[in-house]
Symmetry: C2
Subunit: 299 residues, 2 copies
């Protein structure tokens, strides 16, 4: 892991820089009364975050020699959806968070109305990016990307999972329900990132089984690690408030499995994820490193 | 107008029924913890509203003999965007409205978190509908629809206009700025409805000039009529709170032009809108009736 982590760290840095540059050019502040809105979108989208979903788009695209500038646009679209969801989830009516990525949340740095609209704009922006010819000359590819992202973002995916998560404060979910909740809330967009790499690579649906298995296992491992981080992590490193699940009385992988079994389960999922890539050669090493990284991170 | 309004009234009724049936089938309530989310989406999307944007999709599609079931899906996507924007605009942090379409607003009938998520889900749903092959077999058509809708919904369109509208409470906008604000806030989606009809009809961009002029003028006339309705209308008929612009000290077409000039301007815009359709025959009568209807409505 120590050796393998070097190219991963370099890849994370590259992707972070590339996403910042993309959002900087996509979100040029106009000279009209929408300035506050654009500043809020920039506050949310630029400078910070692990950029895990963009990295997954790049790492998967690399398997199929996809043009990097195309992968960058798709990565930015996915990250725009992820960022919008963070902005809305942080709102007082939702998770009521003051800090995110080491900075004040958007409704703290601006106001609630601006945060709602900035989220809505990033949401629309994601589809505007995908629909543009610059993303891919083939409309079949672009429309498949749109369909995958809209499904992953909507009530059957991320937003549906967030709704289940809000209900989790009132109900007492079992392991199956928590697994389904997390497969939707964070898993759907993580899987979508891998799927989009395959779509850009024009991989037919029947050729995506291994990648889908990889993405499902990585998404779940990532979430278990997130639950452990919430319970045991360092707020300064994480850049956000921790110890929230416990305060809200929510069932998580940690409360349901206990720390030892949760850790063992996450390790098993990472091994499984790597196993799903057996038909790929060294070109999939970045995907393998990402799987292992889900357990090792401090934020 | 009295004679011409009969087919229009029938068309409005038909479209209202069709949209309710579409959303009823698109938003079947699942047997899991997302029930509240789906109920909130149904509360917002079913039963009520003028369905002006869907009607414009149908009326424009009719010019090019577009299959009605395809137009219905595109109409539902546009209406989903419109409805999501109403749900978010009504939130306490935004316009803080209690009533909409004669019913409690979503955050009143449910709660704020559910309203935010229901809006987000309707937003994603719109693009999921458009990306589906059932909307049109040609991916070129589907991706052009997605691009038009994402642009109309985002920071250069509806959401950008809403941001300007929030700023209007603090600033004192002139007629040019109010016109631009409204062209974005309500005009963008109205224009998009007409544009989508043309896209479904595979009309090349250079053949859309008349329809674009029509849509721009109808959108502006609609907004001037809305300002007049806000000042002079009946809350029971409108199904929402009125007299809000004045209370917020916002400049509107009415405050900037005065009632007589605002009315004259709206009538002129409707005449211009109809004039833009000169190259179409009786198949465009519904579009002509819609233009005239913008001035005549009580809600």
């Amino acid at each position: 892991m120590a050796d393998a982590s070097l190219p991963l760290q370099a890849a994370l840095r590259d992707v972070a820089g590339e996403m910042d540059r993309m959002f900087d050019s996509l979100l040029a502040v106009p000279g009209d009364p929408r300035q506050g809105l654009y500043r809020a979108m920039r506050h949310a989208a630029i400078g910070g975050g692990k950029r895990l979903r963009p990295l997954l788009v790049f790492a998967t695209s690399r398997l199929f020699a996809v043009d990097r500038s195309r992968a960058a646009r798709v990565a930015a679209a996915l990250e725009a959806i992820h960022v919008y969801s963070l902005v809305h989830d942080d709102l007082p009516a939702m998770d009521d968070d003051d800090m995110r990525r080491g900075k004040p949340t958007v409704h703290k740095a601006f106001d609630e109305a601006t945060a709602i609209l900035a989220g809505d704009c990033l949401h629309a922006l994601a589809f505007e990016i995908l629909a543009d010819e610059a993303t891919h000359p083939d409309p079949f590819v672009r429309i498949e990307l749109v369909g995958a992202l809209a499904h992953a973002a909507g009530p059957s995916g991320m937003a549906g999972g967030q709704m289940m998560d809000l209900e989790a404060e009132k109900a007492s979910f079992d392991l199956n329900t928590v697994t389904r909740l997390q497969a939707m809330k964070t898993g759907a967009l993580i899987s979508c990132a891998v799927e989009c790499g395959a779509i850009l690579g024009k991989v037919p649906v029947e050729g995506r089984t291994g990648l889908r298995g990889y993405a499902r296992d990585v998404g779940l491992a990532f979430q278990i690690a997130d639950d452990i981080l919430d319970a045991e992590g360092d707020e300064a490193l994480a850049g956000k408030k921790l110890r929230k699940d416990d305060a809200q009385g929510k069932e998580t992988f940690l409360t349901l499995l206990g720390l030892d079994r949760a850790r063992a389960q996450a390790r098993l999922l990472v091994e499984q994820a790597v196993e799903h890539l057996h038909s790929y050669g060294p070109e999939a090493d970045l995907l393998r490193d990402i799987a292992r990284f889900t357990l090792d991170r401090d934020r």
